[in-house]
Amino acid sequence: MDGADLALRNHTYARYVELGRAPSFQELADELGRPIEDVASRMRRLHDAHAVVLEPEGDRIRMANPFSAVPTPHRVLAGGREWFANCAWDAFGVLAALDVDGHVSSSCPDCGAAVEINVHDRAPVDDDHLVHVNVPAAHWWDDIVFT
Protein backbone atom coordinates (compact mmCIF):
# COMPACT_ATOMS: atom_id res chain seq x y z
CA MET A 1 0.00 0.00 0.00
CA ASP A 2 1.66 3.25 -1.12
CA GLY A 3 0.81 6.87 -0.35
CA ALA A 4 -1.63 7.16 -3.24
CA ASP A 5 -3.40 3.99 -2.13
CA LEU A 6 -3.74 5.43 1.36
CA ALA A 7 -5.02 8.74 -0.01
CA LEU A 8 -7.63 6.86 -2.04
CA ARG A 9 -8.66 4.89 1.03
CA ASN A 10 -9.03 8.01 3.17
CA HIS A 11 -10.93 9.85 0.42
CA THR A 12 -13.24 6.83 0.05
CA TYR A 13 -14.09 6.82 3.75
CA ALA A 14 -14.70 10.57 3.80
CA ARG A 15 -17.04 10.30 0.83
CA TYR A 16 -18.79 7.28 2.34
CA VAL A 17 -19.80 9.35 5.35
CA GLU A 18 -20.77 12.38 3.23
CA LEU A 19 -22.89 10.32 0.85
CA GLY A 20 -24.27 7.83 3.39
CA ARG A 21 -23.25 5.01 1.03
CA ALA A 22 -20.20 3.57 -0.67
CA PRO A 23 -18.93 5.71 -3.55
CA SER A 24 -18.57 3.95 -6.89
CA PHE A 25 -15.18 3.52 -8.53
CA GLN A 26 -16.31 5.93 -11.25
CA GLU A 27 -17.25 8.59 -8.70
CA LEU A 28 -13.87 8.22 -7.02
CA ALA A 29 -12.06 8.39 -10.35
CA ASP A 30 -13.94 11.55 -11.32
CA GLU A 31 -13.33 13.21 -7.95
CA LEU A 32 -9.63 12.38 -7.88
CA GLY A 33 -8.99 12.98 -11.57
CA ARG A 34 -7.63 9.47 -12.09
CA PRO A 35 -8.42 6.81 -14.68
CA ILE A 36 -10.94 4.31 -13.36
CA GLU A 37 -8.43 1.52 -14.08
CA ASP A 38 -6.03 3.19 -11.64
CA VAL A 39 -8.73 3.42 -8.97
CA ALA A 40 -9.68 -0.23 -9.53
CA SER A 41 -6.10 -1.48 -9.22
CA ARG A 42 -5.48 0.58 -6.09
CA MET A 43 -8.76 -0.67 -4.61
CA ARG A 44 -7.58 -4.24 -5.25
CA ARG A 45 -4.42 -3.49 -3.27
CA LEU A 46 -6.48 -1.95 -0.46
CA HIS A 47 -8.65 -5.08 -0.46
CA ASP A 48 -5.59 -7.32 -0.27
CA ALA A 49 -4.32 -5.20 2.65
CA HIS A 50 -7.71 -5.55 4.41
CA ALA A 51 -8.26 -1.78 4.23
CA VAL A 52 -11.55 -2.27 2.34
CA VAL A 53 -13.47 -5.34 1.20
CA LEU A 54 -14.57 -5.56 -2.43
CA GLU A 55 -17.34 -7.66 -3.93
CA PRO A 56 -16.04 -10.86 -5.59
CA GLU A 57 -16.23 -9.16 -9.00
CA GLY A 58 -13.76 -6.57 -7.69
CA ASP A 59 -15.69 -3.66 -9.16
CA ARG A 60 -17.37 -2.19 -6.08
CA ILE A 61 -17.04 -1.88 -2.33
CA ARG A 62 -18.73 -4.46 -0.11
CA MET A 63 -17.35 -3.25 3.22
CA ALA A 64 -15.57 -0.15 4.36
CA ASN A 65 -15.37 -1.56 7.85
CA PRO A 66 -17.24 -0.97 10.06
CA PHE A 67 -19.73 0.16 7.38
CA SER A 68 -21.50 -2.34 5.14
CA ALA A 69 -22.36 -1.25 1.61
CA VAL A 70 -25.06 -3.93 1.43
CA PRO A 71 -28.10 -4.33 3.70
CA THR A 72 -27.51 -6.47 6.80
CA PRO A 73 -29.51 -7.30 9.95
CA HIS A 74 -27.34 -4.83 11.87
CA ARG A 75 -28.64 -1.27 11.51
CA VAL A 76 -27.35 1.83 13.22
CA LEU A 77 -29.18 5.12 13.59
CA ALA A 78 -26.59 7.85 13.97
CA GLY A 79 -26.05 11.38 12.84
CA GLY A 80 -29.51 11.58 11.29
CA ARG A 81 -28.90 8.61 9.02
CA GLU A 82 -29.39 4.86 9.06
CA TRP A 83 -26.26 2.82 8.36
CA PHE A 84 -25.71 -0.86 7.81
CA ALA A 85 -22.94 -2.56 9.77
CA ASN A 86 -21.27 -5.88 9.00
CA CYS A 87 -21.82 -7.47 12.42
CA ALA A 88 -22.50 -6.71 16.08
CA TRP A 89 -18.96 -5.44 16.60
CA ASP A 90 -19.21 -3.16 13.60
CA ALA A 91 -22.61 -1.85 14.67
CA PHE A 92 -20.92 -0.30 17.70
CA GLY A 93 -18.00 0.51 15.41
CA VAL A 94 -20.14 2.78 13.25
CA LEU A 95 -20.92 4.87 16.33
CA ALA A 96 -17.26 4.82 17.33
CA ALA A 97 -16.09 5.89 13.89
CA LEU A 98 -18.66 8.69 13.69
CA ASP A 99 -17.96 9.58 17.36
CA VAL A 100 -21.65 9.98 18.17
CA ASP A 101 -24.35 8.50 20.37
CA GLY A 102 -26.93 6.44 18.52
CA HIS A 103 -29.13 3.40 18.36
CA VAL A 104 -28.36 -0.14 17.22
CA SER A 105 -31.11 -2.38 15.86
CA SER A 106 -30.57 -6.05 15.19
CA SER A 107 -32.15 -9.37 16.09
CA CYS A 108 -31.23 -12.53 17.94
CA PRO A 109 -30.44 -15.05 15.18
CA ASP A 110 -31.72 -17.88 17.37
CA CYS A 111 -35.22 -16.65 18.22
CA GLY A 112 -35.63 -13.62 15.97
CA ALA A 113 -36.39 -11.28 18.85
CA ALA A 114 -35.56 -7.66 18.17
CA VAL A 115 -32.39 -6.29 19.70
CA GLU A 116 -32.62 -2.56 20.34
CA ILE A 117 -29.69 -0.88 22.06
CA ASN A 118 -29.19 2.78 22.82
CA VAL A 119 -25.56 3.85 23.05
CA HIS A 120 -24.64 6.92 25.06
CA ASP A 121 -21.17 8.12 26.00
CA ARG A 122 -19.58 5.11 24.27
CA ALA A 123 -21.58 2.51 26.23
CA PRO A 124 -24.89 0.65 25.89
CA VAL A 125 -27.66 2.01 28.10
CA ASP A 126 -29.29 -0.56 30.44
CA ASP A 127 -28.50 -3.47 28.18
CA ASP A 128 -27.73 -7.10 28.95
CA HIS A 129 -27.47 -8.60 25.47
CA LEU A 130 -24.57 -10.85 24.57
CA VAL A 131 -22.36 -10.97 21.50
CA HIS A 132 -21.05 -14.30 20.27
CA VAL A 133 -17.88 -14.49 18.20
CA ASN A 134 -17.68 -17.83 16.41
CA VAL A 135 -14.36 -17.37 14.61
CA PRO A 136 -11.05 -17.11 16.53
CA ALA A 137 -9.09 -13.92 15.88
CA ALA A 138 -6.41 -15.85 13.99
CA HIS A 139 -8.98 -16.65 11.30
CA TRP A 140 -11.10 -13.49 11.09
CA TRP A 141 -9.82 -12.65 7.62
CA ASP A 142 -10.05 -16.20 6.24
CA ASP A 143 -13.67 -15.39 5.29
CA ILE A 144 -14.47 -11.90 6.50
CA VAL A 145 -18.07 -12.02 5.30
CA PHE A 146 -18.73 -15.10 7.47
CA THR A 147 -16.76 -13.65 10.38
Binding site: V17, A97, C108, I117, L130, V131, H132, V135, W141
Partner: protein, 73 residues
Protein backbone atom coordinates in the same frame (compact mmCIF):
# COMPACT_ATOMS: atom_id res chain seq x y z
CA UNK B 1 -20.64 -11.76 15.21
CA UNK B 2 -24.24 -11.55 16.34
CA UNK B 3 -26.26 -10.24 19.26
CA UNK B 4 -28.03 -12.86 21.39
CA UNK B 5 -30.57 -12.71 24.18
CA UNK B 6 -28.75 -15.21 26.40
CA UNK B 7 -26.18 -18.02 26.56
CA UNK B 8 -29.02 -20.47 25.98
CA UNK B 9 -29.77 -18.82 22.64
CA UNK B 10 -26.08 -18.89 21.68
CA UNK B 11 -25.83 -22.61 22.44
CA UNK B 12 -29.00 -23.47 20.52
CA UNK B 13 -27.93 -21.37 17.51
CA UNK B 14 -24.53 -23.04 17.34
CA UNK B 15 -25.93 -26.55 17.83
CA UNK B 16 -28.59 -26.18 15.15
CA UNK B 17 -25.97 -25.05 12.62
CA UNK B 18 -23.18 -27.37 13.77
CA UNK B 19 -21.00 -24.34 14.49
CA UNK B 20 -18.01 -24.63 16.77
CA UNK B 21 -18.72 -22.44 19.82
CA UNK B 22 -16.48 -19.39 20.06
CA UNK B 23 -16.38 -16.65 22.66
CA UNK B 24 -19.34 -14.88 24.22
CA UNK B 25 -18.95 -11.41 25.71
CA UNK B 26 -21.38 -8.78 26.92
CA UNK B 27 -22.58 -6.11 24.52
CA UNK B 28 -20.95 -3.52 26.78
CA UNK B 29 -17.55 -5.19 26.38
CA UNK B 30 -18.03 -5.39 22.61
CA UNK B 31 -18.95 -1.71 22.57
CA UNK B 32 -15.77 -0.93 24.52
CA UNK B 33 -13.72 -2.92 22.02
CA UNK B 34 -15.46 -1.22 19.08
CA UNK B 35 -14.61 2.23 20.37
CA UNK B 36 -10.99 1.27 20.97
CA UNK B 37 -10.74 -0.39 17.55
CA UNK B 38 -12.70 1.90 15.23
CA UNK B 39 -12.47 5.35 16.75
CA UNK B 40 -9.77 6.56 14.33
CA UNK B 41 -11.31 4.98 11.24
CA UNK B 42 -12.41 8.32 9.77
CA UNK B 43 -9.32 10.30 10.71
CA UNK B 44 -8.01 12.16 7.63
CA UNK B 45 -4.50 10.89 8.39
CA UNK B 46 -5.57 7.32 9.09
CA UNK B 47 -2.95 4.67 8.54
CA UNK B 48 -3.16 0.93 9.02
CA UNK B 49 -2.24 -0.35 12.45
CA UNK B 50 0.33 -3.09 12.87
CA UNK B 51 -0.64 -6.54 14.07
CA UNK B 52 0.95 -5.77 17.45
CA UNK B 53 -1.00 -2.51 17.79
CA UNK B 54 -4.23 -4.42 17.13
CA UNK B 55 -3.28 -7.13 19.62
CA UNK B 56 -2.55 -4.44 22.21
CA UNK B 57 -6.09 -3.12 21.83
CA UNK B 58 -7.56 -6.57 22.45
CA UNK B 59 -5.30 -7.02 25.46
CA UNK B 60 -6.17 -3.58 26.83
CA UNK B 61 -9.89 -4.30 26.89
CA UNK B 62 -9.25 -7.66 28.52
CA UNK B 63 -9.79 -9.95 25.55
CA UNK B 64 -6.84 -12.26 26.06
CA UNK B 65 -6.04 -15.91 25.51
CA UNK B 66 -5.66 -18.08 22.43
CA UNK B 67 -9.09 -17.24 20.98
CA UNK B 68 -8.21 -13.56 20.78
CA UNK B 69 -4.67 -14.02 19.44
CA UNK B 70 -4.26 -12.44 16.01
CA UNK B 71 -2.27 -14.28 13.33
CA UNK B 72 1.44 -13.67 13.02
CA UNK B 73 2.19 -13.31 16.73
Amino acid sequence: MNFFRSEEHVARFNAQRSLEPGATIGAAKMCELAHAWWDTRLAPDWRPRSRDENQAILDRVGLTGEFWRLPGG
